[in-house]
């Protein structure tokens, strides 16, 4: 096998720009996470959604064409909700509906209510009340989700634990297949990718009220998987070249490997992004932010496998 010893693209020559770019993106992400944490309305690094806080979310479709609906304001709905008396089980405090959050979507055609956790019976009362106010409602177009507060905490804990465990397991696998410096770099780029994805959603949460749900946790784990795969493929090439190029400085070996795998990295990211872009543009609301998180994570992951992990390798191996 012959390998071109004069790669067209030498990543080492651009490593300062690569480090500055990644450093800046990470700093911005951390800033977003910290700001979100300090924000009294959010109080955590990311704006937690229903899945993690617990509560009831009711989505209702009105029987009318978009924009042709009889106008109904959010405050009308909120007023109706706070005056509602709910059936309450023995020895229990009734939920406080004054804290309800109402959103109107699709030109007033659908309503999304965020409420404290309600029993099935209580949510039925709420739906009936809204039916009186904004009806008639489509019988088969609504959804009701209730997550108990303890379950929300469990979900959050489960997501974080599975994320950490899969990171640790991947690190063990790489140090077994390659060596410790490679494993460390794989974890570093993985942290880089996950942090930038989280940072973006922290900013989205601050400015647009976007919340993270359990699907977001799923997307983070997928991003982590892709990130490691991307990095491993470059490392695999470096290891393979050791036989022929072992006499060259490590920086040159890295340049050859990155150049050889560059097309693959770009093409793979592109082919993965295509179905995701399909989901973003045609997939409807339920998977939109999921697809956005994945698309961003995969783009960042492919960047870090080209610009961050390989350029850091010579620096760390020298010590």
């Amino acid at each position: 096998m012959t390998v071109s010893l004069s790669p067209k693209f030498r990543i080492s020559q651009h490593r300062r720009i690569a480090w500055w770019g990644s450093g800046l993106a990470c700093a911005l992400s951390v800033l977003g996470l910290v700001l979100s944490w300090l924000n009294p309305a959010i109080g955590s690094p990311l704006r937690p959604g229903l899945d993690f806080t617990g509560g009831t979310q009711i989505q209702l479709e009105r029987q009318c064409e978009p924009k042709a609906c009889t106008p109904i304001t959010v405050s009308q709905v909120e007023a109706r909700l706070s005056s509602l008396a709910l059936p309450v089980a023995t020895n229990e405090q009734g939920p406080n509906l004054a804290a309800a959050k109402v959103q109107s979507l699709d030109g007033g055609q659908s309503l999304v209510l965020r409420l404290p956790a309600l029993s099935a019976e209580q949510s039925q009362v709420v739906i009936t009340a809204i039916d009186d106010l904004a009806g008639p409602l489509k019988a088969s177009g609504g959804s009701v989700n209730t997550i108990g507060p303890t379950l929300g905490a469990q979900l959050l804990q489960g997501s974080v634990v599975s994320l950490l465990v899969s990171f640790a397991a991947i690190a063990v696998y790489i140090s077994f297949r390659y060596d410790k410096v490679f494993a460390f770099l794989a974890l570093l780029t993985l942290a880089h990718d996950v942090m930038i994805t989280c940072g973006l959603f922290a900013w989205l949460g601050l400015f647009f009220g976007i919340e993270v749900d359990s699907l977001f946790a799923v997307s983070l784990i997928t991003v982590a998987g892709y990130s490691v795969t991307d990095t491993v493929i470059v490392f695999d090439r470096i290891r393979e070249q050791k036989k022929n190029l072992g006499h060259l400085p490590l920086a040159d070996q890295v340049d050859v490997a990155v150049d050889a795998t560059l097309t693959r990295s770009l093409y793979t990211s592109l082919t993965t992004l295509m179905p995701l872009l399909g989901l973003i543009f045609f997939g409807g609301a339920s998977l939109f932010w999921f697809a956005v998180a994945l698309a961003v994570g995969i783009a960042v992951g492919s960047w870090s496998s080209i610009g961050v992990a390989p350029t850091l390798l010579p620096v760390l191996s020298r010590r």
Binding site: S140, G141, Y267, T268, T272, L279
Partner: protein
């Protein structure tokens, strides 16, 4: 050559098998795709039981299953999840609130005897209870009549409770009314307190729902509501006789208490002084509606729950919203895949066409396995499927890039193909293994939604290893058997080839 044909025959056989599987076992769609409700129940430890064991969870499940069957909901499934949770799925347009109510109650039925010396207090409370009950019933009937807009029945002598009397009754029981509560709320508050006090006036006995052999319902004698009938086993019949004998003719009452709520109070006439009510059967006349009587019957017949349960999660989605999810997700997946196919053919020429074929087979195998296991497809599941296609494409890209490299450096076509597969193998393997590690972590530690994603992604990764390394290769080698196709320009633009090999 013979070996390639052997692989090709295997692939063809698998494709036919996957097709047959799909035809005979339709794909199962999750509730988020076809509409329906999902209830998660948590079994709570109580009394001496500090942690919920597997047997107790199964015992609770048995009781709940009997109750669900009694309710007559179609196609429902009840599964145990983890150490202390049960998940009930009700497909279609079915109201989850009734199921939640029937499932959530313990249904501990007790027969209690009134404490002696409390006759006067009991009479006062019962009078108030009947009055409040009647007023509330009337209000509910009125509201229902107004909602259905049917002409009202001719006015009967209406029970009523003036605002003053209501306020007096409330304060005499030591209740404070929350500001802004409507009259109905106040009445309900009053009724609850009265019921609590009534229950407190009874002593518990050793006769409980455990001694029941069956429960039924019948129209009440006055034609006014339904009664629930009970039949005891021999032991229960004897206990019931002793119990009724002890209070016959004394004016003390027999209370029938369900989950700490008094549902009926009955007096026992002096004629039972001698032997009590024998025969082992009784009926509860609580003026139930048909539905209430049916639910109560189902609960009693199903037995009481060994441990209390709590509904911790309800997710329901309407069928039309579900159908829209399916349509948009399918459209998204297909348009994305069409783009990928075009990309592969443009970039990789002949092998690109082969990889599109291999990916089509890959999708077919995937769906076949979903039908076989079976995997219930939910939205996150579809997302996992789409992502695994991304990984499968990646494997092909890795291989073809390697083949191109070999060709550029002047190798022959057949050798380039073999070397390309061999060299790409280790990075494909590492990529897939790290992906599978994430899947295992997700599946073991994640919850419902996350698990569905992990399962489809894991199936996809395993299959992608197989299709990339066998299907693509076998098809490529098969086509290379035709000399007309054995041309390097079908793989690379002429300009990139070294002059010697073309």
């Amino acid at each position: 050559m013979a070996r390639q044909q052997g692989w090709f025959a295997l692939i063809l056989a698998l494709a036919i098998a996957a097709g047959a599987l799909l035809a005979s076992f339709p794909l199962q769609l999750g509730l988020d795709l076809r509409g329906g409700s999902q209830l998660t129940l948590q079994v709570l430890p109580s009394g001496r039981i500090k942690t919920v064991e597997k047997e107790q969870l199964e015992a609770v499940k048995d009781v709940l299953e009997r109750r669900i069957n009694g309710l007559g909901v179609a196609e429902s499934t009840l599964q145990t999840v983890g150490n202390d949770e049960l998940v009930l799925q009700l497909p279609g347009e079915q109201d989850p609130s009734r199921a939640a109510k029937v499932l959530g109650t313990t249904a501990l039925l007790e027969f209690r005897v009134q404490k002696s010396g409390t006759e006067a207090e009991m009479q006062g409370l019962l009078k108030l209870k009947r009055q409040v009950d009647a007023v509330l019933g009337l209000r509910k009937a009125k509201a229902a009549a107004a909602a259905e807009a049917t002409p009202e029945k001719p006015p009967e002598p209406q029970p009523s409770l003036s605002a003053e009397d209501l306020a007096k009754a409330l304060t005499s029981l030591g209740l404070t009314v929350p500001p802004g509560a409507s009259e109905t709320d106040q009445l309900e508050l009053l009724l609850k307190e009265v019921n609590r006090r009534v229950v407190a006036l009874f002593d518990s006995s050793n006769l409980t729902g455990k001694d029941l052999v069956s429960a039924g319902r019948q129209q009440g004698p006055s034609g006014n509501g339904w009664d629930v009938t009970l039949a005891f086993n021999r032991e229960g019949g004897e206990k019931f006789a002793t119990l009724t004998q002890s209070i016959a003719g004394t004016g003390r009452l027999l209370g029938i208490v369900l989950d700490g709520r008094s549902i009926s109070e009955a007096s026992v006439g002096p004629e039972f002084k001698a032997a009590g009510i024998a025969g082992g059967s009784a009926s509860i006349s609580g003026r139930f509606t048909a539905d209430e009587a049916r639910d109560l019957e189902v609960q009693l017949r199903g037995g009481s729950l060994p441990l209390p349960v709590k509904v911790i999660e309800v997710r329901s989605i309407g069928p039309s919203l579900g159908a829209e999810n399916v349509r948009t997700s399918l459209l998204a997946a297909l348009s994305g895949l069409a783009l990928v196919a075009v990309f592969m053919v443009v970039m990789y020429r002949l092998p690109g066409v082969i990889s599109v074929l291999a990916l089509a087979l890959y999708s077919l195998f995937n769906l076949g396995i979903y039908a076989l296991i079976p995997v219930t497809l939910s939205l996150p599941g579809i997302a996992g499927f789409i992502l695994s296609i991304g990984m499968a494409v990646d494997a092909n890209v890795l291989i073809f890039e390697r083949i191109k490299e070999e060709l550029r450096s002047g190798n022959t076509l057949i050798r380039s193909i073999d070397t390309g597969f061999a060299l790409a193998f280790s990075s494909i393997l590492d990529g897939h293994v790290t992906g599978l590690i994430s899947c295992i972590a997700l599946f073991a530690l994640g919850t419902g939604l996350v698990k569905g994603f992990a399962v489809t992604l894991a199936i996809g990764l395993l299959l992608s290893l197989f299709t990339a390394l066998t299907c693509t290769r076998a098809l490529l080698r098969l086509l290379m058997g035709y000399p007309a196709l054995r041309r390097s320009t079908y793989f690379l633009p002429l300009a990139q080839l070294p002059p010697a090999s073309s």
